[in-house]
């Protein structure tokens, strides 16, 4: 479904991603964990073409998005890029809601305009999502009137509304209370049952352990571990144990 090969990315002198290779299979849920600044968000941004890569190859659902030949980075043509775009979705770490649309419109605009879903259908589906996320009574509010957790749930609903085949989350539960984390977890599980592929950057270990088929641990721009949750939490790797140590302590 998704394959990343030898991806490299620097900001000026700072190399943020170093020779990253990973695969995500159809229907799989993969969590990416790692310390702050290890490049998790940057990796998602590269895959979603919000950053250009310095070298490497990315394939989505069989279509090559970008590859590197003799050191020259080559992106696919626009038709292919647009096809890929429709298959992927991303929930941002800082939400990026549209301030001039109310909650409902934030969610329905993309289905209506991009996927040409009829307005009433889009609104019905949006209301279903809002209900699932406990937000039906805030549907007319504007983003600046939402609490942190509410804004985050709207951002999640907005991405889900497009029904992508692969969905990326950047810390989807960071502003959610445990109760809502549970709700979001439920939603993500139901998506998993519908065979949606998901890649989730998160700091919540228990959440990641619960939801993931596989977990990737990144450190300073490289992938240190790429294995099942059980394997990860029993890893012998020094760095992994150190990182998870704090989590074990916390529990």
């Amino acid at each position: 479904m998704l394959s990343v090969e030898n991806l490299e990315k620097s900001f000026g002198d700072l190399q943020v991603l170093k020779d990253i290779s990973m695969e995500v299979n159809h229907g799989e849920i993969v969590s990416i964990i790692g310390s702050s600044g290890s490049g998790k968000s940057t990796l998602l941004r590269c895959i979603n073409r919000l950053e250009t890569i310095d070298s490497g190859k990315i394939t989505v659902d069989g279509q090559i998005m970008v590859s590197t030949e003799n050191g020259k980075v080559q992106y696919a043509n626009n038709d292919i890029l647009n096809e890929i775009r429709l298959k992927t979705g991303l929930v941002f770490q800082n939400f990026n809601l549209f301030p001039h649309f109310n909650v409902l419109k934030n969610i329905t605009q993309a289905p209506i305009r991009v996927k040409k879903v009829p307005k009433d259908v889009a609104e019905k589906e949006a209301m279903d999502l809002l209900k699932k996320l406990g937000l039906e009574n805030r549907k007319d509010a504007y983003p600046h009137q939402l609490s942190g957790g509410q804004a985050q749930r709207v951002a999640i609903a907005r991405a889900l509304a497009l029904k992508p085949v692969i969905l990326f989350f950047d810390e989807p539960t960071s502003a959610l209370d445990p109760e809502l984390t549970g709700e979001v977890l439920k939603v993500i599980r139901s998506l998993a049952e519908m065979n949606m592929t998901m890649v989730i950057v998160t700091h919540e270990m228990s959440f990641a352990r619960d939801i993931s088929d596989r977990m990737i641990f990144m450190d300073k721009g490289v992938i240190v571990e790429n294995c099942t949750p059980e394997e990860l939490f029993n890893s012998k790797n020094e760095r992994t144990r150190e990182f998870l140590g704090k989590y074990h302590q916390g529990v």
């Binding site: 979705g89 301030p99 305009r113 991009v114």
Partner: protein, 210 residues
């Protein structure tokens, strides 16, 4: 007073110049703004030169240029009125482009990213997501330009377009009195009060979000 009666046709000309200029230059201004922000120097640099000349030289010279220059080049002139509209449109599109640009550049990059990721095309992103937010932010500097335009219509007289300030000036010298000038001032003030109220209303209307 006869002056007020005589003002009717002139004020219609003034209004025509005003509205045609706004319509044309706010569309053209958008393209100019995009050109100015282009990452290709071959587009950006000519646009910068255009902006410099249009904003850097007196409108009065531009009016004369667009009315008289075609004669020397093509041995034909544009009708006075349309030469004036052409000059006003190009001139104002330059000013408006810079205002658009400041507005567009003040929108957080996350808004583009969110729209991109949701699959919005470039045009949709701009018109549905960015522009509505830009409009809210640029109302005050736009009102500056609109109110200046109301008064700049006076310059059309240079190429013989009979707008209102011209009439006032002529009446002033024949009657040896400042009254006509003040009447014209009041006319501009009224027109600009309408512009101001309109901008104020728009601002209030868009105040529902932050």
């Amino acid at each position: 007073m006869d002056l007020v009666k005589n003002m009717l046709p002139s004020s219609i000309v003034t209004l025509e110049i005003f509205f045609l200029t706004i319509i044309f230059s706010s569309i053209l201004g958008m393209f100019v703004a995009f050109g100015r922000m282009s990452k290709y120097a071959i587009i950006r640099i000519p646009i910068q030169v255009f902006l410099l000349i249009m904003r850097g030289t007196p409108l009065i010279l531009q009016l004369m240029f667009f009315y008289f220059a075609p004669y020397y080049i093509f041995a034909a002139t544009l009708p006075r009125f349309w030469a004036a509209i052409l000059a006003f449109t190009l001139n104002y599109s330059a000013y408006i482009a810079e205002i658009y640009r400041s507005g567009i550049e003040s929108i957080p990059v996350g808004q583009y990213e969110a729209a991109t990721v949701l699959g919005f095309g470039k045009a949709e992103t701009f018109f549905k997501i960015i522009l509505p937010q830009v409009v809210k932010r640029i109302i005050p500097p736009m009102s500056n330009e609109l109110m200046t335009l109301v008064k700049d219509t006076a310059l059309a007289q240079v190429i013989g377009v009979a707008e209102i300030f011209k009439l006032a000036g002529a009446t002033m010298s024949s009657q040896f009195s400042t009254v006509p000038l003040i009447v014209a001032g009041v006319f501009y003030l009224i027109m600009n009060a309408v512009v101001e109220r309109f901008c104020f209303y728009l601002e209030k209307k868009l105040d529902y979000y932050e």
